[in-house]
């Protein structure tokens, strides 16, 4: 029987951090009605995908398209295109509204009326693929996470991928409903809730004029287990980071002794204003 001795940490210290540049960002927060209205506004969103395509997209995908459009307009040095970029997209409970409808419809009408659009548009990979389609990204486009414990997955994947495949950039996107509330059998939220997205443009650490720097650090004292459910979303962490100016870094615990840290670049004297203002209560909290 093969045996395993307690490992030393030589390799962990050799590679104790991985860094990249944040070159643009945006956040979006939309009501249920506002996000569904986007299905008829394809010409206002990146890629002009067509209303017939957006009709089937998940609300989290639609909100992300708005956020990415805003982020594109905020680059200090905009990339010529996003052809070789990748997408890492974290969602929370994607497809819940459509799936609730599908469950109900199946119970009433049987298999022949099940929509062919649910699997292609509401699976974990779907928002990343749709964003890649809108921006013409031929780099890897993957979905990560999926539940209330999945946002750390996005930080880990985006930064490690950027270094692995010599990509010029990665769109790191976090979407979800805040708060995640109950829905009825038609998929309609039973209380007020917003669909939110944080979109970050990540580029290699060597990129000039970064807005902020993001690092993943191995720390033997950082928690091993994830907080489930996470008490703070990436969106909230980031909005607090923006509101605090240069005073506080963003810190996200990723499990396994890893943590993400974001600091404004030394070169920055002021942050890019968010196109959509931070709610007053968040500013006060920060």
């Amino acid at each position: 029987m093969p045996t395993m001795n307690t490992p030393n940490r030589e390799t962990a210290t050799e590679h104790d951090s991985l860094e990249c540049a944040v070159t643009s960002y945006a956040t979006t927060r939309l009501s249920y009605d506002a996000v569904n209205a986007l299905r008829k506004q394809s010409d206002t969103l990146p890629g002009a995908l067509g209303n017939s395509v957006l009709r089937h997209s998940d609300e989290q995908t639609l909100t992300a398209l708005v956020a990415v459009k805003d982020a594109i307009s905020q680059f200090e040095t905009p990339p010529e295109d996003f052809q070789n970029w990748g997408v890492v997209f974290s969602t929370r409970y994607l497809g819940r509204t459509a799936f609730a409808q599908a469950l109900n419809k199946f119970a009433v009408d049987g298999p022949w009326n099940v929509s062919v659009q649910v699997v292609p548009n509401r699976s974990l990979h779907s928002p990343a693929s749709m964003l890649g389609l809108a921006l013409g990204c031929h780099g890897p486009c993957v979905g990560v996470g999926g539940g209330l414990d999945g946002e750390p997955d996005a930080w880990l994947t985006a930064i490690s991928l950027l270094g692995q495949q010599s990509l010029p950039g990665i769109w790191l996107v976090f979407s979800g409903w805040e708060p995640d509330e109950r829905i009825d059998i038609e998929g309609t939220p039973l209380t007020d809730t917003s669909c939110t997205t944080l979109a970050l443009a990540l580029q290699p650490a060597s990129t000039s004029n970064p807005t902020a720097r993001l690092r993943i650090v191995y720390d033997q004292f950082a928690p091993v287990a994830l907080e489930v459910p996470a008490k703070t979303t990436a969106m909230t962490l980031f909005e607090n980071f923006i509101a605090s100016g240069n005073e506080q870094p963003l810190t996200a615990m990723l499990g396994g002794g890893l943590r993400a840290e974001m600091n404004w670049s030394n070169a920055m004297t002021s942050t890019i204003p968010l196109l959509r203002p931070i709610p007053t209560n968040l500013k006060k909290a920060a």
């Binding site: 590679h15 819940r96 609730a100 779907s126 749709m130 979905g143 996470g145 414990d149």
Partner: protein
């Protein structure tokens, strides 16, 4: 990590319609045992496709409470069984405190499957999912008391290749000492069988389940859904040698691209599929004429198989007439998110047994796929040192994984 310190596979845990462990899977794969049958777990008379590749009862891992295990959703049982049996296979069921074992799982539709399974047994998670906040990856991580980072990743039907690639990457970065990586999918549910069926993606040869899935054949009419999963133990070769572990293969190369063309249909001019294969071969320092076996994605759909044949012809060039190619989906069904993982096991079998598994039901190759060197209907003994596995998925996901025989 030293450059020559490669990442190898030292344990395999799996469940599929043709076996719940490596040896059983290998034996049935090479005996062309089909796992495809008429679905009996739920009513299918009104479904366009009524067949699937089903795993039946998932074994309860040794040391687990059988009742507690059976009370879990099947997707959870699948993940727990595969991960635990992989660690056991690698001799890691008892391990030193502080060992950082990471976990990367390819899961494409975990929540939808969970909601549907829960709904069918009277639950309400679909309408109030905060009832159950932890996902499968977190549950497996906790149950097995793993100490490294964790990740759920999806590139649709290419998720398994992604998981292996990320596991390798984490070892290279020094984030883990060992990594469990693989994929699970329990996608044969009433809603998914109906959704894929209405999409006309599934074979309707309901009267002949074993002959229904016909990759590269002129008479193919779609795929057959399957369920199951495979999880691998990855570790650095130097450490594996040091502890005397069995090494199945090295994870040598990976490539991934996106079509940015359509959410379902692969790009008819498959430049990005070609690019993914070339990336993987380049990463593994492999030339086309070095390849001893290719496990094709080939799901048996009219469009997809021709598209992949174009990719293979372009990448292999002159070698296209020499490199043996097969699709093992004809036996296992299409495991969706877990397809690449179970097909990586087929590649391990090829490397270990020195034989190429066949494409069964390939009676009359489609003329548009006839340029390939098909392994038709019977396994072919031959030296196998380098295998390549293509996996493509909805959303235009293209991946390719190279496994090499452990020296």
């Amino acid at each position: 990590m030293k450059k020559q310190d490669t990442v190898c596979i030292t344990g395999v845990g799996l469940t599929s319609s043709i076996g719940h462990g490596y040896e059983e899977f290998a034996s049935n794969l090479l005996s062309s045992v089909s796992g495809i049958e008429r679905v009996s777990a739920f009513e299918v008379n009104d479904h366009p496709s009524q067949i699937a590749s089903l795993i039946g009862q998932i074994p309860c891992p040794e040391g687990f409470d059988e009742n507690e295990f059976r009370s879990r959703l099947r997707i959870e049982q699948c993940g727990i069984w595969c991960a635990e049996s992989a660690l056991r296979d690698a001799g890691l069921q008892k391990r030193p405190e502080g060992l950082r074992i990471g976990l990367v799982l390819g899961l494409g539709a975990e929540w939808m499957q969970s909601w549907e399974m829960d709904y069918r047994r009277g639950g309400r998670r679909a309408f109030d999912p905060t009832e159950e906040p932890a996902g499968l990856t977190t549950k497996v991580h906790r149950l097995l008391d793993l100490r490294g980072p964790q990740l759920t990743v999806s590139a649709a039907c290419a998720s398994g290749n992604w998981a292996l690639s990320q596991g390798r990457r984490w070892l290279e970065l020094g984030w883990v000492d060992i990594c469990l990586a693989g994929a699970c999918d329990i996608g044969v549910t009433p809603l998914s069988l109906a959704g894929f069926g209405n999409l006309r993606a599934l074979s309707r040869k309901n009267q002949a389940p074993h002959a229904a899935l016909r990759p590269f054949d002129k008479d193919r009419d779609g795929m057959v859904l399957g369920e199951g999963g495979a999880i691998f133990v990855l570790e650095k070769t130097s450490k594996a040698i040091e502890r005397g572990a069995r090494r199945y293969a090295n994870v040598a190369g990976f490539g991934a691209t996106s079509d940015a063309h359509h959410m379902v249909i692969p790009c008819p001019e498959p430049q990005q599929g070609i690019a993914a294969m070339k990336q993987a071969l380049n990463d593994a320092h492999v030339e086309p004429n070095d390849i001893d076996y290719i496990n094709a994605h080939a799901t048996g759909t009219p469009v997809g198989d021709v598209c992949e044949a174009k990719i293979l012809q372009s990448v292999l060039g002159e070698s296209v007439k020499d490199v043996p190619i097969s699709s093992t989906k004809a036996l296992t069904g299409h495991l969706l998110s877990a397809a690449a993982a179970i097909e990586a096991v087929a590649c391990l079998v090829a490397l270990e047994r020195q034989v190429t598994p066949p494409t069964v039901n390939l009676e009359d190759p489609d003329p548009d796929c006839a340029m390939l060197n098909h392994v038709r209907n019977e396994p072919q003994p031959r030296p196998v040192d380098v295998t390549v596995s293509n996996s493509f998925g909805f959303g235009g996901n293209n991946t390719c994984l190279v496994l090499k025989k452990a020296a």
